[in-house]
Symmetry: C2
Subunit: 210 residues, 2 copies
């Protein structure tokens, strides 16, 4: 975990706010308030104001926020005003689930290449992308100016693949393999452990104990 | 998001600490310190002490923490000193990825039933669990005393399935479907949006802007 001035929880909430604003915008609503946003996503209005305040003044006192403008502001903050070229490594169940996940493309994450080491998977088409042999990773990811690599591979090979992604020039790696990766400090690394989500639930189920 | 006195980020870090302590324990190490834990997981020693302080005094000044004891304490806090009976709904790519995810069983999340609406999937075996028709959800989940339901189904049917899980008596739902679910306040609900993980990365890639 990287120490940033801005809490990660704020970033995650900004992501949630932007989805909510997308829905609100689709309904044709022009202005909104921190109270409306708070109600829509289930946090307090003070939390919404505090999260937004990290990035400046967006609303107009007594009027509220322009929905389209605030949504654009937040997308820009999250780095989503541009598309990102993403390389997916591993075309197993998780890889296939990720590659067909609608939410990625909607948010500007374009999977431009998919790699696997299994000859039976190489050559098959996932969405509109052909699975390539893992040996072509560095060359193809470089050609595609890949910025983000997603690791959906077994733990045993994750470090090796991460090294190759870095060699290909990615800036960020999303790692689903249950292993601690060593990457240079300039590479943004995020490990996703799906069990953590269940643990937050079981903590909350028993939270009355504290 | 539920407002708890204890920040969710603390819960997520406790989960990370407990995994680290499991590794340390396996290496035969008897005592540890907040500094060691901090280094092992990449946060500050003060953060480790602050997170643990929510739940009382664990260590001995000048000696540190007993690894086994601290691990057990944290697992108890997270509700992981007992096994949880989990029902998985949806045997598509995501469902299959989740059902074969080793990390669940290791942490005491036992998938006791899997359901799907596709007749081609019903009757197939995933791990050691047979996929059952969705029509049997309420009955079987009740029989298995299912406590947690995992939704890996299309958004269009997620609410209906959530209602059935609640009818079957689950206490918590982990929802991967990109839709806002309505559940009674006593049900713990957690929505997993896989794109959020990418957005934290792209924010961090551009974080020098703030």
């Amino acid at each position: 975990m990287k120490t940033l001035k801005i809490p990660e929880a704020t970033i995650i909430r900004l992501s949630v706010y932007s989805r909510h604003l997308t829905d609100v915008d689709r309904k044709g609503i022009i202005t909104t308030s921190s109270g409306d946003i708070a109600e829509g996503v289930g946090v307090s209005p003070a939390q919404v104001r505090k999260d937004l305040a990290y990035f400046g003044e967006f609303g107009t006192r007594g009027v509220g926020y322009n929905v389209k403008d605030l949504r654009q502001h937040i997308l820009r903050i999250l780095g989503l005003s541009v598309d990102w070229s993403v390389s997916l490594v591993g075309a197993g169940h998780l890889g296939l689930a990720l590659s067909t996940y609608k939410g990625f493309r909607e948010r500007g994450f374009i999977i431009t290449s998919i790699f696997d080491s299994d000859p039976k998977k190489v050559g098959t088409t996932v969405g509109d992308v052909v699975v390539l042999p893992i040996e072509q990773l560095v060359e193809v990811a470089k050609q595609n100016r890949t910025q983000i690599g997603i690791l959906a591979v077994p733990a045993a090979v994750a470090q090796e693949i991460a090294d190759q992604l870095i060699k290909a020039g990615v800036q960020a790696i999303l790692n689903f393999a249950p292993v601690v990766l060593n990457v240079p400090p300039e590479i943004e690394l995020r490990n996703v452990d799906l069990a953590v989500n269940l643990e937050v639930l079981t903590f909350n189920v028993g939270a009355q104990r504290f």
